[in-house]
Symmetry: C2
Subunit: 364 residues, 2 copies
């Protein structure tokens, strides 16, 4: 404080003689607080991408409002400053202070990261929040990112995603044989185990690939986003549910050095803004997806289909194989997986009496 | 700004001549920011009541951290400053700046408030959040509280509650006839319609009433709280699900004058802290209820039972009657109810493909 006081007096350009003790004590702390931070946040989303990129924009806006401009965060779409999937490295190396995306994008660096985004037949949004925020998940997530000097925060959720757009019907697991589907991550590994051909296609090229028959199927997000992509013009069937992403968590990441440079009040502001983003995003998804789905069905005559239970059962079996293999290869994944499974067991028992029953109210 | 500058100069006790223009411009905003607020928050909960009162404590703590002590909120348990159900009036009249509780406690003043806490066979936590935050619900809630100069914020959710503790089995709706049950609010009205005797008993007296047979049944919250109340020693059956409170929202309320007195940054801090509280509380409930339930079953040999579908069906029919009557009597309730029903219709369609399917994963 004393140093700051001296600096204040120096910067203010007034001699000690002109400054009463009362003035200095009153003003110095306020002045110290006025230190301004300008941060950059890189995201995995196209600039201002609905809901997901918007969530990042809003997060920055809330931080600026709460800090009264003391922390200004410039948000960059994927590719504007670093490539869309270059965000983790950029934050890790301190090139930028923050990132916004989803943990499964960093599977190549930290395979266990995938548990904190989406696991096939894993958690929905509510259980994901409970696991990470109150069930011990956050400690594990921090452990997974610690070697990279990156600090994770929960900052959004898509809710249960769609199963995807298909140009052939899925009546049994055998229908996956030879199916060329755009599906990344663990879901893709499951489709591959089912005999499918899981391919990666950049967002901007999916529609053309689907339309030209280069791929037979694709998953993306849910009705609100899928409608904008125009997939209904290139595929017959819209399958449900998104077993591969039943509640995808989004993340905000902050570089350790940047985090440590913030005073405690700004740390609390950044963390709390992430929570707000988490809640805002899920609520937007839940409130807007159904209207988009109705438009797809009523205006664009999309055929909504559900995966047969037998297919889901087979896919779940294959998902377990994929996760077991992941755990066998990577000790950190093994540790996180065990914790995840235990929490899942509890949530299953709990949901049986609560949320599962709630879902039957509409049929009474 | 100019006025603040003058005030600063005056308060700092230095004459204009001694102050360089550079000093005044640099310091005045920082000084204006250092204005400190001391607020009181009254709650409907016993002091530091697990999860619910804790949520209020944490909310205050987060605001203090984020504002670096510029806004200090002292939290009072129900009865410490005003009676537990006197909070709304105290905030409305400006006696205190803030409150924490649940909107249905104010049904006597504003019947429509009940929609923003819990409706029998109404929303679960996820849909409640979506409705209020992204579906237009908040605008209506603000309208309901506006005549009282009170501003509402979403600040917690219990998730699906328990159906309650019973000393007789519920096999058909006829079993409600003459049943003396502690169940307040809209749920109580439904039980009354079923021929039951819905009574109000203060929290501290429920156990004794149940133990002595003064009442045959009681609802409370969920396993974590019910275990602490010792109900398992006084009742045989623990019924599920809590059809009367499938996702009870908690609120933070702020008096209009107090709210307007805050600078914009502190307003953003208070609002964002409420979001964090909302998410924290639900996650705590979800993460901790099952362990408590397991203890009740395995250690205390509680008999967990589910209401038969036929009973739930009848209760749902009666709930509709109760809500229709509420809407017929009160124009604001009618307006909110119509909006609520429309959102519910959409959520039902959406959940059919998403969360409902998710709840079947565990059986695959």
């Amino acid at each position: 404080m004393k140093k700051e006081r001296r600096q204040f007096i120096k910067k203010a350009g007034i001699g000690a003689a002109a400054v009463g003790a009362g003035l200095a004590t009153q003003v110095a702390p306020a002045f110290a607080k006025s230190k301004k931070f300008k941060w950059k946040m890189v995201t995995t989303w196209p600039p201002h991408f609905p809901m997901l990129g918007e969530g990042a924009d809003k997060l920055a806006q809330w931080v600026e409002e709460m800090s009264d401009g003391r922390l200004k965060i410039s948000v960059y779409g994927g590719g504007e400053l670093v490539p869309p999937l270059g965000g983790f490295d950029a934050v890790s190396q301190g090139t930028v202070q923050m990132g916004h995306g989803a943990a499964y994008y960093w599977a190549g660096k930290a395979p266990a990261a995938q548990f904190f985004a989406a696991v096939p037949f894993g958690f929905n949004a509510q259980s994901m929040n409970a696991w990470i925020l109150s069930g011990g998940g956050m400690k594990l997530w921090e452990e997974v990112y610690a070697p990279f000097n990156v600090k994770p925060f929960l900052a959004g959720n898509t809710g249960v995603q769609a199963g995807g757009w298909f140009n052939k019907e899925i009546n049994s697991i055998a229908d996956y044989k030879g199916l060329k589907m755009r599906i990344p991550g663990l879901g893709g590994k499951v489709v591959a185990k089912a005999g499918g051909n899981a391919v990666l296609v950049a967002g901007g090229e999916i529609y053309t690939n689907l339309d030209r028959g280069v791929i037979d199927a694709t998953e993306w997000v849910g009705p609100y986003h899928d409608k904008k992509m125009g997939f209904y013009k290139a595929a017959k069937y819209y399958y449900w549910p998104g077993w591969h992403e039943p509640g995808t968590a989004l993340e905000m990441i902050v570089g350790k050095k940047a985090w440590m440079s913030l005073p405690k009040d700004l740390q609390a502001i950044v963390e709390t803004a992430a929570y707000r983003s988490n809640m805002w995003m899920l609520s937007e998804f839940e409130a807007k997806n159904n209207a988009a789905l109705e438009e797809l069905v009523n205006k664009h005559h999309v055929q909504v289909k559900q995966f047969p239970k037998s297919v889901l059962k087979d896919l779940k079996k294959l998902s377990k194989q994929v996760l077991d293999e992941l755990a066998a290869k990577d000790p950190m994944s093994k540790k996180v997986y065990a914790h995840f499974l235990n929490f899942q067991k509890n949530m299953n028992a709990w949901n049986k009496l609560t949320e599962e029953q709630y879902q039957t109210f509409k049929y009474l």
